[in-house]
């Protein structure tokens, strides 16, 4: 961890920060107290002027999202998305395990500002420790009057209930998360008409916010949005957690100012990951989780700024950077990601259910030496039927470096299908020769 500003990770080195007493000793619940001295509207405005961008993947400003709830429609619900499962992503779990009160405090601030009737804290099923920490934090906070009836003696009352999942990546998608919280199969709803802000949990207005997003709120309310916007860049203020994994010297999770730090800083900086593992060189990296189109060495100097990364054809997504050196086989890496998407496709809509499975089957076949010369174009065309785009247009190829369009068009209900296509397409675009070689090699073996 570097020496930059620490907003959400400030207590990570304190072993028992998950206990209420320690949390209070280290300034906990000051943000909530500040909020309760303001009107709900003022709190909302404070968050809006902080331009707190969502940290779950889409990067939408939380203050604006809250404002989408239709006026005078009650009740409203808050669902905290702690279903972190995007490949390469590791931050929300730490926040829940090490500083659950910070998250709860953030959720309470949101609930106060927007008039929430009940908060559901949806923790991923596989995270047993996070569940224990969140549950015990909730128990302590209820006992101490931070949650429940007449919070801190005010007329603000809200219940916070921990819910826990059971293993399904798609549930991280906000409408699937709601379906799951209603006790159903986690299959996404169509948007329109089912935008959670209007028709969410129980068809009532619902705010879905990511764990890291909400964990920023106590600091913002304590220090003010002005202080917050002095960190990071103008369009992406504040800090952000990045997990850098793969072929680096020191993989780790780091909180850095957004917009001003670059990929190169994170991957090569001594205070961060210390470069590619010894004796190796960078081949490619995933800039924002398994769903993101891949980046290459020429992208290293891009700042960690959603708009810039988007303009370059990928996304910052969930703050997951996966670094791959020259030993990495592009086809194998693609197959492994595709197997993930195929296994995790919910099965609701045709292109994703059938398409991801077909793509995985073909990639597996290529790796097993059964590739066919037409397979590469087939992969691209199947991808196009899931996520129609301008590629592979005439003359498309490595010498035609137009960015992979992102976010993609989709024939599917949710972005999972296109997420499967994006890395594959970017990989074929860059390493078509590797794919061709694999196929040729297989043909040689089978002859």
């Amino acid at each position: 961890m570097s020496g930059g500003p620490r907003i959400v990770s400030a207590r990570w080195e304190i072993d028992d920060a998950w206990k209420l007493s320690r949390y209070l000793e280290t300034g906990g619940y000051a943000g909530l107290r500040s909020a309760l001295d303001m009107t709900p509207h003022e709190v909302h405005e404070e968050v809006r002027s902080a331009t707190l961008l969502g940290r779950g993947g889409a990067g939408f400003p939380a203050g604006v999202k809250w404002g989408f709830c239709p006026p005078d429609v009650w009740p409203r619900y808050l669902v905290v998305n702690g279903d972190e499962s995007e490949p390469g992503t590791y931050k929300d779990r730490i926040l829940m395990e090490r500083d659950p009160h910070q998250l709860i405090e953030g959720a309470l601030i949101c609930a106060y500002a927007t008039g929430i009737a009940q908060v559901f804290l949806y923790v991923r099923g596989e995270m047993a420790l996070a569940q224990e920490r969140v549950a015990s934090a909730l128990n302590e906070a209820y006992e101490a009057g931070y949650i429940g009836r007449r919070i801190l003696g005010t007329d603000f009352s809200v219940d916070v209930v921990m819910h826990w999942g059971a293993g399904a990546y798609i549930v991280g998608e906000e409408t699937a998360l709601i379906e799951s919280l209603e006790g159903d199969r986690g299959m996404p709803r169509l948007k329109p008409p089912f935008f959670p802000a209007a028709k969410g949990l129980y068809m009532k207005p619902t705010i879905v916010n990511n764990v890291e997003t909400l964990s920023n709120l106590p600091w913002i309310l304590e220090h003010g949005s002005e202080a917050y916007t002095t960190i990071g860049s103008e369009s992406s203020p504040g800090t952000r957690l990045f997990a850098i994994s793969g072929h680096v010297e020191r993989p780790g999770v780091h909180e850095v100012p957004q917009g001003v730090t670059t990929f190169r800083d994170l991957i090569y900086g001594d205070e961060y990951c210390g470069g590619i593992r010894k004796g190796h060189e960078l081949k490619m990296f995933i800039p924002g989780g398994g769903s993101a189109p891949w980046f290459f060495p020429e992208h290293l100097d891009l700042p960690l700024e959603g708009k810039v990364v988007g303009g370059a054809g990928s996304m910052l997504g969930s703050g997951a950077i996966v670094v791959m050196d020259e030993t990495t086989d592009a086809v194998s890496a693609c197959w492994r990601l595709m197997r993930f998407f195929s296994r995790e496709s919910c099965g609701e809509c045709t292109p994703c259910r059938e398409g991801t499975n077909w793509l995985e089957t073909i990639l597996r076949r290529i790796l097993d030496g059964q590739g066919r010369p037409d397979d590469i174009d087939l992969l691209l065309d199947i991808g196009d039927n899931i996520s129609p785009g301008p590629y592979p247009g005439p003359g498309w190829g490595a010498e035609n470096p137009e960015p992979v369009p992102f976010p993609p068009q989709q024939t599917t209900i949710c972005p999972l299908g296109p997420s499967a296509v994006a890395p594959l397409t970017s990989a074929i675009r860059r390493f078509r020769d590797e794919f061709e070689a694999k196929i040729a090699q297989g043909a040689a073996v089978s002859v």
Partner: protein
């Protein structure tokens, strides 16, 4: 089956651009429907106009620009808005459609030659129209065991399934029976039931009809025919009296299946399984094709004595029996039970014969198991749409549509769940609609009218034993908000309770609110037609009161009854006392259907002659002198009247077996044998006579009924006219105070019972469940009874040993049994002359390891 969207009136027009032309559509309409109404069919699998869109199959993607650039959008989820530009033919649209079809075909087996759906398969058809020419898939397809039975009649082939969510959505949303669901995830997703819990829904057959591939097939139709070999006529189902529109599909003079037709005012395309598979009875073993008679004119219980006889001989025997009755006692010596199964025309013919020629008024189409004819004939009728009008309040008095009129149940359920209709359900125990009712109240037998008085604000001081006062209060306020306009769905919930209470309750509501309409929840196919045509004492065709018979009847009919005759209970009582010489059963089985078994037995024994007109030899018919075989459903043309008074055409599909003939013809021939000419020689001509004579049908010509525009039928005049039978507030029904050791008996119907037609229908036979003695769990302790324990239940009529079962929806101090169940005939406990029947219940002293002895008695 057409799944076209219903026509709508455009009230809020917007202009959209559809494939380059400007069209005006309703704002907010689904794009897929708007396009279809404008002649552009967008391919689809998951979308069905009668279910909520889910946008899952992605077949209906089209390129749409709503002002933010063109993109592919599912047209089944997109609502029309102004200036929308839609391109259903663009390269992008075509490629997306081709892509989706290729995906769907990846794992779809190519077993079309042996698939029942082949030839009428949306997947096949749309592949031809929109699919890729060849496959690029060289890998292994998904495999499942095929097919598996998910119910007695529905087979599921998961390899063929394209996971469109139609069947699962139907089960959950439409039927309310979510017994099938998706299981597993991703490309391993499958539809299935819970292990060992079949898809036992009354409506399961609809899933087969709406399956867009051959994944769901109907076991009864499996491998029976290719669609192009079928002869198809459109008709109306006559299994119950809802009047669902169907197509009857036959091959080689055999009906092979019935499919629902989307009739907007009635069934929305749905059918219940009893109706869908009821046609199986037509070809069932035991179906009568020749008249039966006895060698000697001596009545005997020996069924072997029934033998085939000629029509001439049979008619002669029947006519002789009638003549001898007339000779001995005059017209009152002849009585007729039944007729609700007949067409309107046949009913008219029989009424003309009985009332106009023979002169008897002892005629009742109901078997003591319905409601007083005056409620149906003397009050304005409602339509199903009236009862389901969004935002309205509908009171269900004592009927259980789920068990008797399943599609009416679907409509009411939909109204309550999706259209904000407040249902107030009042009946002796919880029924099918209870979970969807805004207020459900279950008064004890005998206390229905008291409860209704409490609701409207009078009597009983607002309290009725066992009913939550808050419910009464809530019902009162709902009714107060109606401006008096409401529909009463009135039926007969319990056969062991006098209908006087129902009539009393109806009269209370009718006098409290001024715009009350009645939707009768009577189950027999054409019971409304029968009552309207005069098949009840004191009634002439057209709801006309016998006492006020206009001149037209006396001039056109040879005779008229001298006075009001007997209803079924009266007829049976008279027969038991030897006052009926000739009893004619017009498709009726009083031994099975009349609530009081003992009285029915004594009546059949007491009548000198019994004549039966029927399709099968049932328990009652077995005792007849002569049996005249009648044509059945799909074997004769005509019209039928549904519960709304809607006149619906029936078409002939096949010919009757042997020499069985239409009921109207039997009436005409019997009249001829009696020396009288009914003057009726065709269905069309009979209808003309009805329309001339009956004030209810005066505007309805045969041409109008036959107009394809009117395939949903035409509603006959539903308001009472001067001279109509009148509904008058009855004297409160007396019931003596009940002692505290007794429990009041409730006897209710289930859809599947041991009735003749269910038993002859292969797909439904055996579905009747055994009855247990249902009682409120709170009564267990007081009576020393255990859930699942065996008890003796006894009335003054009889006694039996049966299992007791706790059921929270049974009010305390009452017990419920199912009528006509395979293990017990509750009719043996009931006295039809008691307004409230009571029983005593005693636990059997059971010793472990021993079967129940008759302890406790």
């Amino acid at each position: 089956m057409s799944e076209a969207p219903a026509d709508i009136e455009i009230t809020d027009p917007v202009t959209i651009t559809l494939d380059g032309r400007q069209v005006v559509v309703q704002r907010g309409a689904l794009l897929i429907d708007a396009c279809e109404r404008n002649g552009v069919y967008i391919p689809r699998f998951c979308y069905h106009p009668r279910m909520r869109p889910v946008g899952m199959c992605r077949m209906c993607l089209v390129e749409v620009d709503t002002g933010r650039g063109a993109s592919l959008q599912p047209s089944c989820m997109l609502q029309c808005s102004s200036d929308m530009v839609v391109d259903t033919q663009s390269d992008k649209t075509r490629k997306a459609q081709e892509g989706v079809l290729e995906f769907l075909l990846l794992n779809h087996p190519l077993d079309c030659p042996v698939c029942d759906r082949g030839g009428e398969c949306p997947l096949q058809d749309q592949t031809v129209g929109y699919g890729p020419g060849e496959t690029r898939f060289v890998d292994e397809k998904r495999h499942y065991e095929k097919p598996i039975a998910i119910s007695r009649t529905v087979l599921l082939d998961r390899e063929r399934c394209i996971l469109c969510d139609r069947c699962t959505r139907f089960a959950k949303e439409v039927a309310g029976d979510p017994l099938i669901d998706f299981q597993d995830r991703g490309s391993r997703t499958q539809v299935n039931t819970f292990p060992n819990q079949p898809f036992a829904s009354y409506f399961s057959g609809n899933t087969v009809q709406i399956c867009p591939v051959g994944a769901l097939t109907a076991e009864p139709y499996r491998f029976k025919a290719r669609p192009w070999d079928l002869e198809i006529v459109e008709s109306s189902c006559t299994t119950c009296s809802v009047g669902c529109r169907v197509t009857i599909q036959s091959s080689r003079n055999q009906v092979l299946r019935c499919l629902g037709v989307d009739s907007d005012p009635v069934n929305w395309g749905w059918l219940c399984d009893k109706g869908r598979y009821g046609v199986e009875a037509l070809n069932a073993e035991g179906r009568l094709g020749v008249p039966l008679g006895r060698g000697r004119s001596v009545k005997t219980d020996d069924e072997t004595a029934l033998e085939e006889v000629s029509w001439a001989g049979a008619l002669r025997t029947a006519a002789d029996a009638i003549t001898s009755a007339l000779d001995r006692r005059g017209p009152e010596g002849v009585a007729v039970i039944g007729g609700a199964r007949l067409t309107n025309e046949a009913q008219y013919a029989w009424v003309k014969l009985l009332k106009g020629v023979i002169g008897t008024d002892n005629l009742d189409a109901q078997l003591g198991d319905g409601i007083p004819a005056e409620i149906v004939l003397g009050l304005p009728l409602a339509t199903i749409d009236d009862a389901c009008r969004p935002g309205s309040t509908t009171v269900v008095v004592s009927g259980d549509p789920k068990e008797e009129l399943p599609i009416l149940y679907l409509r009411l359920r939909h109204a309550a769940v999706q259209d904000g209709v407040n249902l107030i359900e009042i009946g002796p125990k919880a029924g099918g609609l209870t979970p969807y009712a805004t207020v459900a109240m279950h008064p004890l037998p005998g206390e229905l009218a008291d409860l209704v008085r409490a609701v409207v604000g009078g009597g009983a001081g607002g309290a009725v034993a066992g009913v939550d006062p808050a419910s009464i209060e809530r019902a009162r306020s709902l009714l107060a908000d109606t401006d008096g306009e409401m529909t009463l769905v009135v039926g007969r919930r319990s056969l062991s309770e006098d209908t006087g209470f129902t009539a009393d309750a109806v009269s209370v509501l009718v006098s409290a609110y001024d715009k009350v309409r009645i939707l009768p929840a009577l189950r027999r196919a054409n019971v409304l037609g029968a009552l309207t045509m005069g098949m009840a004492p004191g009634v002439l065709p057209g709801r006309v009161a016998l006492a006020a018979a206009p001149d037209a009847y006396s001039t056109r009919w040879p005779a008229l009854p001298a006075g009001r005759g007997l209803d079924t209970t009266g007829i049976l009582t008279a027969a038991a006392e030897g006052r009926i010489d000739t009893l004619i059963l017009l498709g009726a089985d009083p031994l099975t259907d009349f609530p009081d078994r003992d009285l029915a037995e004594r009546a059949l024994a007491g009548a000198r002659n019994v004549i039966a007109v029927d399709q099968f030899v049932n328990d009652s018919v077995r005792l007849a002198e002569v049996v005249l075989p009648a044509a059945g459903f799909a074997e004769c043309a005509g019209t039928t009247t549904n519960i709304e008074g809607r006149i619906l055409k029936l078409e002939q599909s096949t010919t009757p077996p042997g020499t069985a003939r239409p009921d109207w013809m039997i009436a005409a021939e019997l009249a001829a044998e009696l020396g009288s000419d009914l003057g009726l020689d065709s269905v069309e001509q009979i209808w003309k006579e009805i329309a001339e004579l009956s004030p209810s049908h005066v505007d309805l010509t045969w041409e109008m009924l036959s107009d394809p525009q009117n395939r949903d039928g035409l509603v006959a005049r539903g308001d009472p006219l001067p001279g109509s039978v009148r509904f008058e507030a009855p004297e409160p029904t007396a019931h003596r105070a009940l002692d505290s050791y007794s429990l009041r008996l409730v006897a209710t119907r289930k859809l599947y019972d041991e009735g003749t037609m269910v038993g002859r229908c292969r797909s439904c036979a055996g579905l009747a469940e055994e009855t247990a003695l249902a009682m409120n769990p709170h009564d267990f302790e007081r009576l020393g009874v255990e859930d699942g324990g065996r008890v003796t239940v006894s009335s003054k009529r009889g006694s039996t040993v049966i299992e007791a079962r706790g059921e929270a929806g049974v009010p305390r101090n009452s017990v419920a049994l199912v009528v006509n169940a395979p293990n017990f005939d509750v009719g043996t406990l009931i006295d039809a002359n008691d307004a409230v029947n009571e029983v005593r219940v005693e636990a059997l002293q059971s010793v472990a390891g021993e079967t129940g002895s008759e302890g406790g008695s």
